[in-house]
Each structure stands twice: as C-alpha cells, then as structure tokens.
C-alpha cells in the first residue's frame, strides 16, 4: 500500500429541502396574510358568540320594560299570589343570567380548543 496523502473527507448531505415543516403559529408570529386569517377567524367566532349571548339577554330581560309598557295589564297578572313583575324581576332573571353565562363559558373554551388544534396541525 502506498503511503500517499489521505483524500480529504467529504461531507455527504442530501439536497436542501424546499419546504421546512412550518407550524401555523409561525404564520401568526410573522404576521403573514394567512396568520391574519387565522387570528381573524378566532376573533370573529368569539365576538359572534359574545354578541349572541348579549342578544339573547336583550330579547329576554331587555324586552320586559317594553312588554309592560305596551301591555300594562301584565302588571295585574299574579303567579301563586305574587305579581308577575316580581316573579320575573325578583327571581327568574338570575337563573337565566347564570345559564347564559355558563353556556358562554363552555362555547368560548371550545372555540379556543378548536383554535389550538388548528394551530398544532402542521402544513406541508
């Protein structure tokens, strides 16, 4: 065997990949148009949910003064001896508020979970 100079080592690598796997959170961080779409969809979804909750509140509780204004005879109605206004305003309103709040919290958290799932998917 001849003792010549050793050949230089050559690093063997593959061709550079064209697409690095990229998370969608990166789109939001880099403020790409796609990231803007993702964020916009979350905000729209949450705002729609909030406005629906407020809408139900206004249609139920908020319409009571108008109802009593338009139909004054409602104040003569009694439920088990208690005037209707007292039953509604002094009692039933509060469970309704809690129910609306509970429903809102559940759906808002679900929206956020959906968003987190969407973000954890990887685009190829």
């Amino acid at each position: 065997m001849t003792e010549g100079p050793r050949p230089e080592r050559v690093r063997v690598t593959g061709p550079p990949r064209r697409h690095l796997p990229r998370t969608r959170t990166g789109d939001i961080d880099d403020q790409t148009r796609l990231g803007s779409v993702y964020l916009g969809s979350l905000m729209r979804e949450q705002l729609r949910l909030a406005l629906r909750t407020v809408g139900v509140l206004m249609l139920t509780v908020g319409s009571l003064p108008l109802a009593f204004h338009v139909a004054p005879r409602l104040s003569d109605v009694h439920l088990v001896g208690v005037p209707l206004a007292w039953v509604l305003l002094g009692g039933l309103v509060y469970p309704l508020l809690v129910l609306l709040g509970w429903r809102y919290v559940r759906r808002a958290e679900r929206n956020e979970r959906d968003f987190a799932d969407l973000m954890s998917e990887v685009d190829r």
Partner: protein
Amino acid sequence: MSTETATGLVAVVVVTIATLVIGTWGLRFSRTTSDFFVASRSVRPALNASAIGGEYLSAASFLGVAGLVLTFGADMLWYPIGWTAGYLLLLALVAAPLRRSGAYTLPDFAEARLGSRGVRATCSMMVVAIGWLYLLPQFHGAGITLRAAIGAPIWLGPVIVGAVVLANVSSGGMRSITFVQAFQYWLKLTALLLPAAVLLIVWAGDGAPGSRMPADPGWSVPLASGGSEGLYLTYSLIVATFLGTMGLPHVVVRFYTNPDGRAARRTTLFVLVLLGVFYLLPPVYGALGRVYAEELAAAGRSDVLVLELPRLMVPGLGGELLAGLVVAGAFAAFLSTSSGLVIAVSGVLSQDVTGKLLRARNVTGVAVFRTSAAVAVAVPLAVALALPNVGVARAVGLAFAVAASTFCPLLLLGIWWRGLTDVGAVSGLVAGGLGSGAGVVWTLADGSASGWPGILLVQPAAWSVPLAFAVMVGVSRLTASRVPPHTRRFMVRLHTPEALELDRG
C-alpha cells in the same frame, strides 16, 4: 346603654376586628410589590369570585335596593338586575382578553393598547373621578348606619370606615384584601339571609298580611312612572348598569389577580352565581317593609329599612340579635367596597401621580402605595363630611353611568376593533365623560327630574353611551393613519389562549 345600642356596637366592633385580623393574617403572604397590587396574579377562581362578590356588594346593594323598592316599587328591581347582568356582559365581551392584556389598571390597558401617554393620562383622571364618586355613597352609608345602630353622630361612620380601610389596604395590599373580601361576601350573605328567613316566618305566622291586597297600581310595574318618560328612565338605567360594570375601576383591577384568561372567565361565572343568590334577598326586605314599615318611606328614611325591619317585626332580644347581624353585614359592605375602590384609586395615583413625585426622592414602591392610599381615602372622606345628603343608590347609579359612557366604549373597541386610534379614544372619553358628567352635576346640584331636559340629565346613559361610541369610532376613522403599528400583535395577545406558544409582543 340600652340593648339596642349594645348589639349594634358589638356588631361594628366585631366586624372591624375581624377585618383587621384577617387583613393582618393575609399580610404574612404579602412580601413583594406584586403581592400588593395584584396578589401576584395567583388567586384561584372560587376565592377570587368570593372576593369580587364581597367587594362589589356595596352599601347600595345592602341598604339602598331594599329602600328604593320600598319607596318606588318594582321598577327599582332593575338596579340589582343591572348590577348582575353587567357581569354577564363583562364575561362575554371583556373578561378573558382583559386578563390576557397583562395590564394592571385601566390606564395600563389603554397605554398598552394604544401606545399613547395622552390616553393614559385621560384614563387615570377618569379612574380617580369614578372611584371617588363611588366612594362617596359608601362613606355616607356608613354614617347613616352607625347613626341608626348606635345613635352615633353622622360623621363617625365615615371616619371609622376610612381609618379601617386605610389600615388594611396600606398594611397588606391586594393579597390580604382578597381574604378579607372573600370573608365579607359570606358575612353579607348570611347577614341578609338569616334575618330574611326569620322575618318571612314571622310574616307567614301573622297570616301573610298584604299578599291578597289588590296590587297598588304602579308599585308592581317594572317601569318608572310617567309613560314614555318612564320607559326612557328604565331603559337608560339598564344601559348604565349593564355596560357600566365593566368600566368600574375596582372591578377591573380584580381581573388581573386571575392566573390566566380561562380562569378569569370561570371566576366571572362564579361571580354571577354569587350575585344572583345575594340579590334575591333585598327585594324581600322591600316587600316586607311595604307591609310593616311603610312610614319609613314617608319619612324619607328608606335607606335604613334593612337595619330597622328586624326590630320592627321581631320584638325583644331576638329582634336585637338579628338587627346586630344586619348592622355587621352593612358595615362589612362599606369596608369591602371602600377597600377595593381605595386600592384601585391608589394604584392609579401611585403609578401616575405620587409615584413620579416620590420616586425622585428614592421612596420605595410600597411606601408610595401607602401614601397614595391616604390621598385616595382623604379626598372623598372630606367631601362626604361636607355633603352628607347624597342618596346611596342614586349616587352609585351615577358612577355606573359615567363608567358606561367612558371605559365601556374604550374596552369594547380596544378589544374587538383594530381601527381604534389614540386620538379617537381620547375624543370618545371626553365626549362620554362630559355628557354623563353633566348628569352628575345636575343631580348633585339637586336638579329636577321633570320635563324631558331634566329626565335626560338625571339618567344620561341612554344617550351618552352611544355618543361616546360614535365619537370614538368616527374620530378613529378620520385619524386612521395613527392606528398603532403593534395592533395586530396586541390582538394576538388578547385573544389567543396562553397555552399556545406565540409572539405576544
């Protein structure tokens, strides 16, 4: 000393001592400036919700509502409904984003969102104004309670409440106040629930007088009297209370003590439950007062109805004990709400006013906070002693109208609309503040509530809130080039769950 003054005195002393002891106990956990301001942001939802409930249920809730119902009837039920529904709107539109903004006070939020010192200064002035307006009726309520309970001179109650609040706030800050206020919610609930149960049994034992009487026209109508003017007054009250809650400085500060946005939502839901349970009770006193204590309304002393009803209905020692319990609850109401307001106002003062003056002289953060707390107590205390005749619930109602016309538009547009600019925000705050402020001046100057101009001023929210929104949006559109460049990054911070790894600016 008669038994009457003895039970009242014992009640006041016990509540005061309990408040100071719990506050001191909480002090063991307060070490850093962060503990002072936000309890280091680590309060669990159940404890935090009790604290919010304890802080929120003020003299107006404890004494004012029952008195108003006694005097004016079912349309006054809108006050407690609005004060509760305000939390539903807060939950749906503000709670989680506000917590995620990472700011401590409303001025902090405004500055972070809009990147402007001018907006910050405007907000700071509004916080102090609303806080002082809200402290007035607390001190006033303390005066009439001590007078009714132990015959003390009218100035003694405000002075005691001011001193206890100052001692507690400046010794333990937010961390110890959290324990104190959680305790005070449950005390207030017990102090109304137990006597109400006994009084209802007494009422049933008397043969349930009043239940079969033909309804007094007007008293069972959930509308202010006067046709379309009454309809306006009722809806304007609804607007003020539904939208005003989110703008109250002491309510907002509490949200920064939650660990994250999700906890902020759960805390708020819990608060809805606690408030709903509590507000079932004051109307019971109002209705029973209608049967047993109608002369109080005629004499213009309806604010003491809750305090005097047990004694009127239950003779002897039993009535005295129940009265003592109610006095204890009322006193807890002044202490807790005043503490929360003083924390909020002194937080702003120490960051924006005294802090700048004192830090130049090498005074530490906690000492600055204590100085500011003294200022925050002293000013409204002086006004309360000078003007002892402000209706408790009415004055609180005005604070709500101002909050709804200023901070509500700022929060809603700041959180949900990317187009808000600093110039737009300041213009809207000024427009809403001047509009609702005119109402405050009119009412405090004893202006009449007759005729449309008077009616519009007595209950300004229905026009001043839309005005503030319109000005804020309109001016922002005209100055669209001033939309802060970090707006999108800030929206990411407000709306995305904390668990996601994102650049939040």
